[in-house]
């Protein structure tokens, strides 16, 4: 029965993906996280603003940044190794879709500005080394998403589970 029926029990966080395309376009330009208000100018505030605490970043902010970083790493590697592009770009798009969902969930905007999502470290010119470096990043990403899912409130658990699973499948796809 299960094999022919849609998964009725999984309708927990059906997300509207309609905004993904435009977000993706924005992300592609190189992205900067603008935490709503956290980095807004605090200068020139009046007396009443003095005691206001800046809003605490959402606990998922690092995971969102990691999604953008992983996407940036894959896109950069695809530029250096065009023969790998068909393998790498779908993975980058997945990370960007995660970033868009995480941004929506945490109420932050992803603004295009400086290339903040560029990967850390130089890109290996060797194809094998490049894939190994990408696998290492995905493995670390999988672990952080697993931790985030374990600690998450109910309404975030399903999305974070999918992010963890996706990162694990990327690791497999990069073999």
């Amino acid at each position: 029965m299960v094999l022919t029926c849609p998964v009725a029990m999984g309708i927990t966080t059906r997300q509207d993906g309609s905004s993904e395309l435009s977000r993706r376009a924005v992300l592609r330009a190189g992205a900067l996280l603008a935490l709503g208000g956290a980095t807004a100018p605090l200068t020139g505030c009046g007396l009443l603003d003095r005691d206001e605490q800046p809003p605490r970043p959402d606990p998922l902010a690092p995971l969102l940044e990691e999604s953008l970083r992983l996407a940036g790493g894959l896109r950069a590697a695809a530029t250096v190794h065009p023969d790998l592009a068909t393998r790498l770009l779908p993975l980058a798009e997945s990370h960007e879709a995660h970033a868009a969902e995480l941004a929506r969930l945490t109420g932050v905007t992803i603004a295009s500005a400086t290339p903040a999502a560029s990967p850390s470290g130089p890109l290996p010119a060797d194809r094998t080394a490049a894939l190994a470096a990408l696998r290492k990043s995905e493995r670390a990403g999988r672990e952080s998403a697993i931790r985030a899912c374990a600690d998450a409130p109910a309404e975030r658990a399903a999305l974070l589970g999918s992010v963890a699973a996706a990162r694990a499948t990327h690791l497999e796809a990069l073999r």
Binding site: M1, G10, A165, E172
Partner: protein, 143 residues
């Protein structure tokens, strides 16, 4: 009946069906692929056994296995067997994903481990089948 119990009972029915489906799948595959199918089926059996134990201990009605399950399409050759294997892993993953929001602690960890493992198996089956891309952005999310 708690939400957790219901979700795990759903996962159990998915595991039953997955185990059943690997029968017709296995006989159509190459030797190396059959080994992978045996390993995949063993994973589904292990989770089925653990779920039956857990749900029995919880005291609710454990959903029974069925004599057979309807396949979404006929499995007549290697290509259709691989396609079904992809689908089996994806659908089972979806049930475990559905258990995430209604579970905590060790239950959450187990559900996540199942989701991750089955998503990876689906990717491996896609590779065997020559399906691209090898991955989906949100494994287990209902389409």
């Amino acid at each position: 009946m708690s939400e957790t119990f219901e979700a795990l009972a759903g996962a159990l029915t998915a595991e039953y069906a997955a185990i059943w489906a690997y029968g017709p799948i296995g006989v159509r595959l190459s030797d190396a692929e059959r080994k992978a199918a045996v390993a995949a089926e063993a994973a589904h059996r292990a989770r089925r056994d653990a779920l039956v134990m857990q749900l029995s201990t919880a005291g609710g009605t454990v959903p029974p296995d069925r004599a057979g399950y309807a396949l979404p399409f006929p499995v007549t050759d290697r290509a259709s067997a691989l396609r079904l294997a992809v689908q089996v892993e994806e659908r089972t993953a979806a049930f475990w994903r559905a258990a995430l929001p209604v579970s905590t602690g060790a239950d959450r960890d187990r559900a996540l481990a199942a989701l991750v493992e089955y998503a990876v198996r689906a990717t491996r089956w896609r590779r065997s089948a020559g399906i691209t891309p090898l991955t989906v952005p949100f494994p287990g999310r209902p389409a």
